[in-house]
């Protein structure tokens, strides 16, 4: 093919659209969110009772990760208008003009279908159906319905981010159980203080685009109180896996210490009145630690279950 090739006008890029690179498509899948999904789903797979062939386990994990990435792409497709006006999201591929919204929609849809079919056909139907439900919940319930309508958006929508360990668990057992529900609950209760800490120091961004995050609707003081209450619920919930046999002593120690630090940061934030720089700094500290908290808990669970499997325990 020479450089004089003419291509159909319908497939031409717009003036400022040079065509997305493979990297642009990868970033469309929200790789940082995907990394947390991989970790939590892997814990679900390893902690579940019973046995899954390692090849099928790897396929399940890949399908769950791709499904999560696909729902991220669909989220970026739908939210492209507000992403372009927020500092945190303005550099995403669609606002930057690297990928068109239509391409993102097609990419997200195709990847979703492939992920669900792969998990359903190769692992089990229950896990496939669960993954389909998770993607639909994130895209339709959270992104399209709740996000722009209610300050409880991330409370209810947070369920989508909490499902992966249950999907991983279902990939092994074909069902749900109290233990997998506990893993779900930890992420579910963790989501509001995590997101509201971010929303506190991004208030102006959310205000500009009209997304009714809790600080914008109820005010910083009420949000800080709710963050503290959720943190107080999260700390004991984080320790609970030890008492149902999901976590060992290392997990008990980690979740106790990290839970205490989480509550301490939430308490510090609660004590700062207003929304000045000091408040922003405390919110950033809590937001940063919240990520560390969830990674730490699930990494310890991962390590403990890996040791158990390797040693045949």
């Amino acid at each position: 093919m020479t450089d004089t090739t003419q291509i159909p006008s319908a497939s031409l890029p717009t003036a400022d659209l040079v065509g997305g690179t493979v990297g642009d498509y990868f970033s469309l899948m929200k790789p940082r969110v995907m990394s947390l999904v991989i970790l939590t789903a892997l814990v679900g797979i390893l902690a579940a009772p019973g046995h899954i062939h390692p090849v099928l386990g790897a396929i399940a994990l890949l399908a769950i990760a791709v499904g999560a990435g696909a729902s991220g792409a669909l989220n970026m497709w739908y939210d492209a208008d507000i992403d372009a006006r927020m500092a945190r999201t303005a550099a995403r591929p669609i606002p930057r003009g690297r990928i068109s919204a239509e391409e993102a929609f097609a990419f997200g849809t195709v990847m979703s279908v492939f992920a669900v079919l792969t998990l359903g056909l190769l692992v089990n139907y229950a896990a496939g159906a669960f993954l389909a439900f998770t993607i639909l919940f994130y895209v339709v319930v959270y992104t399209m319905w709740l996000k722009r309508r209610t300050p409880q958006n991330i409370v209810i929508g947070g369920a989508a981010g909490a499902f992966p360990p249950m999907v991983g668990w279902a990939a092994v057992t074909g069902s749900v159980s109290i233990e997998s529900l506990l893993l779900f609950l930890i992420i579910f209760v963790w989501t509001p203080p995590h997101f509201w800490a971010l929303a506190l120091y991004r208030m102006r961004d959310y205000d500009r685009v009209g997304v009714p995050m809790m600080p914008n609707v109820a005010g910083p003081a009420s949000t800080k109180k709710q963050i503290l209450l959720y943190s107080l619920a999260l700390a004991p919930l984080g320790i609970a896996p030890y008492f149902v046999g999901l976590g060992g002593l290392a997990y008990l120690a980690t979740s106790t210490v990290c839970g205490g630090i989480f509550v301490w940061y939430a308490w510090q934030l609660f004590q700062i009145a207003g929304d000045d720089r000091e408040s922003d700094a405390a919110a950033r500290r809590l937001f940063g630690f919240s990520i560390l908290y969830l990674f730490a808990l699930f990494l310890v669970l991962l390590a403990e279950h890996t040791v158990r499997i390797v040693t045949g325990g």
Partner: protein
Amino acid sequence: MDKQEEGEKPSAEWLRQRRLRSIAIALMLLVLVALFYAATIVRMGGNVLNRAI
């Protein structure tokens, strides 16, 4: 008639990106085929040889 309707000569950079994307799609399809093959073998296990002659 705007540029899109007229058709436009794609730039070398645009063509390069397109080629890379096509290669990535091909690789993904190959991975998918490999996954289905591996899963089939794993699921059938020893039964692959256990058939009427």
